[in-house]
Symmetry: C3
Subunit: 343 residues, 3 copies
Amino acid sequence: MADPRFFITTPPRTLADLAQIAEAQLADGVDPERLIDDVSALETAGPGHIAFLANRKYVRSFMESKAGACLVEPELADRAPEGMAVLICDRPRRGFARIAAAFHPDRQEEPGIHPSAVIDPSARLGKGCRVEAHVVIGPNVEIGESCQIGANSVIERGVVIGENCVIGANATLSYCLIGKRVQIASGAVIGNTGFGYDLDPSGRTKVPHLGRVIIEDDVEIGANSTIDRGSGPDTVIGQGTVIDNLVMIAHNVRIGRGCILVAQVGIAGSAQLGNYVTIAGQAGVVNHANIGDRVIIAAKSGVLANVPADSIFAGYPAMPIKEWRRLVGQQRMAFKGKGNRDE
Amino acid sequence: MADPRFFITTPPRTLADLAQIAEAQLADGVDPERLIDDVSALETAGPGHIAFLANRKYVRSFMESKAGACLVEPELADRAPEGMAVLICDRPRRGFARIAAAFHPDRQEEPGIHPSAVIDPSARLGKGCRVEAHVVIGPNVEIGESCQIGANSVIERGVVIGENCVIGANATLSYCLIGKRVQIASGAVIGNTGFGYDLDPSGRTKVPHLGRVIIEDDVEIGANSTIDRGSGPDTVIGQGTVIDNLVMIAHNVRIGRGCILVAQVGIAGSAQLGNYVTIAGQAGVVNHANIGDRVIIAAKSGVLANVPADSIFAGYPAMPIKEWRRLVGQQRMAFKGKGNRDE
Amino acid sequence: MADPRFFITTPPRTLADLAQIAEAQLADGVDPERLIDDVSALETAGPGHIAFLANRKYVRSFMESKAGACLVEPELADRAPEGMAVLICDRPRRGFARIAAAFHPDRQEEPGIHPSAVIDPSARLGKGCRVEAHVVIGPNVEIGESCQIGANSVIERGVVIGENCVIGANATLSYCLIGKRVQIASGAVIGNTGFGYDLDPSGRTKVPHLGRVIIEDDVEIGANSTIDRGSGPDTVIGQGTVIDNLVMIAHNVRIGRGCILVAQVGIAGSAQLGNYVTIAGQAGVVNHANIGDRVIIAAKSGVLANVPADSIFAGYPAMPIKEWRRLVGQQRMAFKGKGNRDE
């Protein structure tokens, strides 16, 4: 059960209510008026809980679960243990997420501007914003309605933030235009100058970075991640893309819609990612590379060239994952052969 | 000598005193009343300094050192140069650390709450706490006795911190329960929501993260590291574990006691580490992997599967280090053979 | 054109003026009085813009560009399209950077100390400093003339900062001595204690870190990077070195002059880098390694041993790049051979 120090918990709900929230169907014979208290995982759930099964791998946990109710895909519904109320659902994980959010809605913090915040008189804030203690907002900043700006964050000159955005604590935003419903976690730094120089042992000249960071609607950016502004072109994060913690996005990078960048990924300058691209943790993409739509890059890979759409790459230098798997398999075999001769 | 702008230096101490601090024995003939001014490294030490030798590799530096005194293991004591006072000690590095701390104790900053700190009236702080300028402390936070909270840090709603903790500047803590004597460096972000979604081109649903971060006693966390809270289960960092800078710990990860995570390591969601595990710099552990007690993972390795206790793994995908060394050796040899044919 | 919300734009300038700024020569027949409005990239430039060509790879973009003027090396000047005013220049990128800075000079923020800043009475600040809102400056700090300290940054006890430095927002500086014209981006943490322990299952002893971080003149440090102080020796960043975002520099590291460390690089304890070393993104250097002058380390490499001056290394463990390329080539060939037999 969610710790009440941190989370709100709403009263029990009927299965009929939960089915509606999850866009699920109650299986035959399920009592629509049965009450459920909370969400839980299959392994920890009791009779008052609803769980979900989204991955066939966990079907055993499902069969042994004591959950009172469970969201499950149609084809697995008949594996449910006796007494479990089954809610049939095409996307059980999404249904579960919605039910969890219904039981534990985000706390509605009071709107208002803390008196310790320092806001330039030329800044404009929409209705219903919450600006926490010690926030600093620079000249000509524009913030849409119902935004939250976390304590000790800094929003520098000229930044534009759309409505319903949430900015964490200790974040720094500069040289950026941010869409609606964007979430930027604590410690993130958006809009810093790119890393571009004319270098020569006789001296270094910094290239002025005259572009911006454009963050489209519904983007999420993780804690302590950094996104540099463009050198002339903009750095662009497409609609609905989610970026994990400690990720680095360099100047002029263009990321399409619905991409997923896992923690500690680095995207070098002027690289382009299409739509629905997934880059797993600690992977890197070289500058100017072009990554096609729906590409998946395995964790820790190093992408040194363009990657065609709809492919899965792994390794360093990154190659099609089948090729990489065969290479790894061969190395193992070569090792074993060699090892045998040695011993 | 330690820069007095930053460090306190206490008066000279006798060798008898230092031996007691270090749990060492004075070698035969050493004058227990001889005074030592300070610590230093073997290479830079002079007659007024005490140094240490913990690694046989540096025995030449030891033999040539001008240090007035030196902590050394019993078996190397007879290699000391003439005139050096030898302190025989089973753990010279620990002894040296203790003597260094005696000569240069941490500054005892004055307790008290800076008037610019913003503390919710419902928060409770123990005696002897120091809360620096512009700190923000949210509702129902509980902080134990004698804690230090660095300038501009943010402690969000409901967080519990045990006694004698030190939080650096510009850190952000939320959704976490923290033990005693924990040190969290500047810029760290603890308790952010995990990176979990139901993803689909038709739209994304964020999975509510209803767990916490539990940090047990004596843990240290480095600068700008991030630890996400659990999705339902908690994220747990076990007693005495030390985490370096820029490390990422994802949701639901469980780390045992006495582990060491070096800089820029990433541990993906729901991975489990046993006790006394060492993960060297820039290595990564895949989600749901199970890493046994006392495992060592080499720097930059990518762990893609479970690792049994007491093993040392390296490479990507990570394999037993002997296997990895042979593989690397073979590649070198294959290269050389091939090179010869080519040339 | 640069977004006026973020950037200043100065009036049009004659080609004669621009040639002087860039240390360029107008090609024969170019009208020195022709006016140019702004800088732009070759692909996006119009008749009022000046662009540059620094890389033969982009000569086609140059030949097709609509730019009114272009900076170009002497040997490529005759490839210019008709009507383009050519400025011949040995270092076109540097010339362009200077012209861009002339058209878009950094905003001269007003000097002054924001009333919300908390500055210890013993701190000394030079003339013309700008200290933004909620900055915290500790005892005995010394800051030279004309420095800017970004909002919510923390400068701890005893830190010394030379003249004309720029510190971003939410940065934390401690135990460090900083030269002139140094730029430290938002969220960086300088001077944290190093990661050094005497470890033993029976208990851990922290080694006191009694050194400092020395940052020489003209260094730049990126967002959310961390540089730990030395254990006794100092951590040193040499004159003119540039460090990108999310980089980790451990205790006792010594970096020479004019080095380039790209994003997410990690340098482990006591490693030494010579002058003009380049470490590409996500690469790592093991502790105590010695990297010679002018070495280049490829992205994602893992350097596990010393690297001689003037060499280029890649791979893990890092090897001369020619060797690495042959190894990668062989793996590919072996794969294909094997693949053929399989199919």
